[in-house]
């Protein structure tokens, strides 16, 4: 019995050594593409990727306090840069894995026109956006409204999501008539799936650069390094683009 147990633990340890596992903190807006990429990654490399989804600010706080993530896919470029400066990352591992596209979206067909004129008409009670203080997509949305000269008139109608996924949930349930979300969230098979949308021109806001980084605890983790390489591959790029991101 003792031998059997020892054998069991030995083989378990051997297994772990061969196929490495990487824990990945993923920004909420990148949920759908990352699930697809991780599935391919596991098939192609034999490594295992465990994904956690959430807001970049929350992940930052967790990582600073010892969360067991080896790779961080943020929704911006400032948070990974900050972690880098604080010595919490593997230097030189940071790169931009996607550039986000902002979309003004409504669950109702025909509610949002193709040029975003609906913002000027203001025919709605609630406009959802991610909290601009903490979420890059929210900050970009504020920039857009400022450029269009509608920020002041619309601000009283803001409802703020904790992250971009909750913002979408406000719109999906119809509690907010429309909202600014990530294009990736409303894309299905390469085009906007339901409702109506205005894909906001990139020139209306500073680019939403989303950076990935290997965290200090991922130093020497083969799966973490393999995943970062995989994110740069043509296969991953095709998936990322199909969800409406730029590269």
């Amino acid at each position: 019995m003792k031998h059997l147990l020892a054998f069991f633990f030995f083989s378990l340890a051997a297994n772990l050594a061969q196929a490495d596992e990487v824990q990945v903190a993923v920004a909420a807006n990148f949920t759908a593409p990352m699930k697809a990429i991780a599935a391919d990654f596991e098939k192609d490399t034999g490594h295992k990727a465990r994904l956690a989804f959430g807001s970049t600010g929350k992940f930052y706080a967790q990582i600073r306090n010892g969360a067991p993530f080896q790779v961080f896919l943020a929704a911006d470029d400032t948070t990974p840069a900050r972690l880098e400066k604080e010595g919490m990352t593997v230097p030189g591992s940071r790169f931009t894995y996607a550039v986000g596209t902002l979309v003004l979206w409504s669950a109702k067909p025909g509610f949002v026109d193709a040029r975003g004129e609906v913002l000027k008409k203001g025919d709605f009670a609630h406009l959802a956006l991610a909290n601009p203080k903490v979420a890059p997509y929210g900050a970009a949305a504020v920039e857009v409204m400022e450029k269009l000269g509608v920020l002041e008139s619309l601000e009283p109608r803001f409802v703020l999501g904790e992250n971009i996924a909750q913002t979408q949930q406000f719109v999906v349930t119809g509690n907010a008539e429309l909202g600014f979300v990530a294009l990736s969230q409303v894309m299905k098979n390469g085009k906007v799936g339901e409702g109506s949308a205005w894909v906001v021109p990139a020139k209306l806001h500073t680019p939403i650069r989303q950076d990935a980084v290997i965290l200090a605890s991922g130093r020497g983790n083969a799966a973490a390094e393999a995943l970062m390489e995989y994110l740069k591959s043509a296969k991953a790029a095709a998936i990322i683009k199909s969800y409406g991101y730029g590269l």
Binding site: S55, G57, K58, Y60, A61, A125, H126, A128, N131, K133, V134, F158, V159, L160, G161, E162, Q166, Q169, F170, T173, G174, N175, A176
Partner: protein, 224 residues
């Protein structure tokens, strides 16, 4: 020490908790009275429904409220038909949600107090020709006052400590739905740990003081 934003969040939280506590004492007392005295088969199911928020994750309650009170939900259709609009993202919506969320914390202490009092004082009062209402207000309520104190304190404190439900249906609007717990969450997310510490410290001191006061003022709880 307190910024305008923090002060607004604190005042909003106090306003919400006060209103919810008053409503809960008014609504919870008859429920507690009925539960304490009924022999109906319905006592079990009703008790279970009242206690649900103790075990349900706030995300479940928040999700159901968001969908039910939205423009396509049953409650949302009703409020729209009445010309009230929809409840999510409004202060009234938070009040409704908090009443559900804190209900057991008010009903259960009052119910326990009524049950501990027993039938005897009411029977004695009846022989002295006190009517049912008279018996309730001049006998039952004074004899159960520790239960009411506990109920009020727990209902208030529990509403102040509410987070998940507010996050899900509030929309984080300053002065309307951005209560202290949500404000703290924002500070943590935005790396503003100094402000998070100030508000968290206030919450901790408040919660401890309130509970301490309740245990000190309530001898039935401290000495068995």
């Amino acid at each position: 020490m307190l910024s305008d934003a923090n002060l607004a969040a604190i005042l909003l939280t106090l306003k919400l908790a006060t209103l919810v506590t008053v409503i809960l004492l008014l609504v919870g007392t008859p429920i507690a009275w009925w539960l304490a005295r009924t022999r109906s088969w319905w006592k079990g199911p009703i008790s279970a429904v009242v206690a649900l928020p103790i075990v349900l994750p706030p995300s479940v309650l928040g999700f159901y409220l968001l969908v039910a009170m939205g423009p396509n939900g049953p409650v949302g259709r009703l409020t729209q038909a009445l010309g009230l609009g929809t409840l999510p993202f409004t202060f009234a919506g938070l009040v409704v949600a908090s009443v559900f969320y804190s209900l057991p914390f008010v009903v259960q202490p009052i119910q326990n107090a009524f049950e501990a009092m027993g039938e005897r004082p009411l029977e004695v009062a009846a022989t002295l020709r006190a009517g049912p209402l008279d018996r309730f207000f001049t006998v039952a309520v004074p004899l159960s006052s520790p239960g009411f104190l506990t109920a009020g304190v727990l209902g208030f404190a529990h509403t102040v400590g509410e987070f998940g439900v507010v996050l899900m249906i509030g929309g984080n609007i300053p002065g309307v739905t951005r209560v202290v717990s949500v404000q703290i969450y924002d500070y943590v997310e935005a790396f503003e740990y100094a402000d998070a510490h100030i508000l968290s410290g206030i919450m901790l001191a408040f919660s401890f003081t309130v509970l301490l006061a309740m245990y000190l003022l309530n001898p039935t709880r401290t000495h068995k």
